[in-house]
């Protein structure tokens, strides 16, 4: 792999143990940075509003993204549609720090993801299981996150995806070497990636949790399940007290095993986002792009 790919994986390593927050304005970006976000995701509408508004959801206005780049000193990420390499080219042209090829937006291609090896900027992609994660890595993703179910405030899918991924990693890790060839075939990924997982008992890139994280307890749960950091989308700016909740989630990710501290952090955060249960939603974003 190229030097650039290594550097892009390295940036994800620097984000570990941190919280990446969705923001829609420079003001929100500043609040997120002050609350301890290690990066922000610039987008016009947070997933809960995308869900409410319906219709086709696209890459954000570059002017809006640039405004956020001006406002903060931490890395700025932005989303493009699955398979929409022209949107990705535009995001690269404005020197975005990370592109999220995201199922939160309407997919532009129902068969092919972006060939991410053609880009100099890094990509993060969502995955529900090990096969999806390794396929995205094979296409050039330098960071993975669970898909979860964005904009719901319901953590059940993020948990399901993280548990699935970890269980499959353990399964590959315990295989004998001659079983890896078939595992590669089943997962529809190159043998070398399966071999890496077998030897290292982890993905070859950093793996964050995303989708439905709304409380410090949710963040701690995902960290204890093996996430290396957390994305929080609608959970912060759809809640009663964004500053306080954001800061509490940041501290919960650092001290995710300290229940006493988590109890303290969970106190008096104001109203959490209302949320929608999995059974109540018509559109499963996690089913986009496999």
């Amino acid at each position: 792999m190229s030097n650039r790919y290594e550097l892009n994986k390295n940036l994800a390593q620097m984000l570990k143990g941190g919280v990446i927050m969705d923001v829609t304005t420079p003001e929100q970006a500043k609040i997120a940075e002050a609350a301890g976000a290690c990066a922000v995701m610039a987008l016009e509408r947070i997933p809960a509003d995308i869900r409410a508004a319906g219709g086709v959801s696209r890459m954000s206005d570059p002017k809006m993204i640039k405004g956020i780049q001006q406002a903060v000193s931490i890395p700025v990420m932005a989303k493009c549609r699955i398979g929409h390499f022209a949107e990705a080219q535009i995001l690269q042209a404005i020197e975005i720090d990370y592109i999220d090829e995201s199922e939160v937006l309407s997919p532009a291609d129902d068969k092919y993801h972006i060939d991410k090896t053609k880009f100099d900027v890094p990509f993060v992609c969502g995955a529900k299981d090990l096969g999806e994660a390794l396929r995205r890595i094979n296409e050039g993703a330098s960071m993975i996150r669970t898909k979860g179910e964005p904009g719901t405030g319901d953590v059940v899918q993020a948990v399901r995806h993280m548990r699935m991924m970890q269980a499959e990693i353990r399964r590959i890790g315990s295989m004998s070497e001659d079983e890896l060839f078939d595992a590669a075939k089943q997962l529809q990924v190159p043998y070398e990636l399966v071999q890496y997982v077998h030897e290292n008992k982890k993905l070859p890139v950093v793996n964050f949790a995303a989708g439905g994280v709304a409380t410090p307890a949710d963040a701690a749960l995902m960290m204890q399940l093996g996430a290396e950091g957390v994305f929080v989308g609608s959970g912060i700016f759809k809640s009663g007290n964004p500053e306080k909740r954001a800061a509490a989630i940041v501290k919960a990710v650092t001290n995710y095993r300290d229940a006493e501290l988590l109890a303290e952090l969970s106190e008096d955060l104001g109203e959490a986002m209302v949320g929608i249960n999995e059974q109540e939603i018509a559109l499963l974003m996690a089913e986009r792009g496999k």
Binding site: N3, E6, L7, N8, N10, L11, Q13, M14, L15, K16, G17, G18, E33, A34, G36, A37, C38, A39, Q69, S73, I74, P75, Q92, E95, I96, D97, Y98, D120, V121, P122, A247, V250, K251, V253, T254, N255, D258, L261
Partner: protein, 190 residues
């Protein structure tokens, strides 16, 4: 020998792995009670300095660590860790431990597209791999700080008695020499 690694956010596990390869055990510092352990040196890893600086204060680690550094605890800061030790940050009002006579510039090479890899000379070690990720560099040293490495005309490593800083990430490459240099500092400190 035991080394504490500040584990608030960032690439702290990478440092722990490097130190393990050198046969040194580590403890993670995540909150005030972790300071009750004894340790002979401190590593401040790469990550986001804004996050680490805030958590240092809010999790009550700041005073205890600053005092130890001022009393001579050997400390090694990489990237964000270097920013936390600098007395002056050219493009930021906030300073953190402010124990080292260096002026640094954050995100000095620009955004992620400006991240790069080079092999450059490190004083007393030789040519080593250097990985720069949205890195800062040292604008200038003053007082007791001395330059240990420059790369493409910029100062990227410095030392002041018990304090060692690099703007690059030795923990991201296989080369153990900068970590070994830090262990030597600790041994001469005892």
């Amino acid at each position: 020998m035991k080394i504490a690694v500040l584990a608030l956010q960032g690439a702290f596990i990478e440092h722990e792995k490097m130190l393990a390869k050198l046969g040194v055990s580590t403890v993670e510092l995540r909150q005030k009670s972790d300071l009750e352990q004894t340790f002979d040196g401190l590593v401040i890893p790469g990550g986001e300095s804004t996050v680490q600086g805030k958590l240092l204060r809010e999790l009550d680690l700041y005073d205890g660590l600053k005092e130890r550094i001022e009393r001579g605890l050997p400390v090694f800061g990489t990237c964000a860790g270097m920013i936390l030790l600098a007395k002056q940050i050219e493009n930021d009002q906030r300073v953190h431990f402010a124990t080292m006579d260096i002026v640094v510039k954050r995100n000095a090479y620009g955004r992620q597209l400006g991240s790069f890899y080079r092999a450059c000379e490190f004083q007393g070690i030789g040519t080593i791999p250097m990985t720069f990720i949205r890195a800062p560099y040292i604008e200038r040293v003053f007082g007791g700080a001395e330059v240990l490495a420059t790369c493409e005309g910029k100062i990227v490593a410095a030392r002041q008695k018990n304090q060692l800083v690099t703007s690059f990430h030795p923990e991201l490459n296989e080369d153990l020499s900068v970590h070994r240099y830090f262990l030597d500092m600790i041994e001469h400190n005892q």
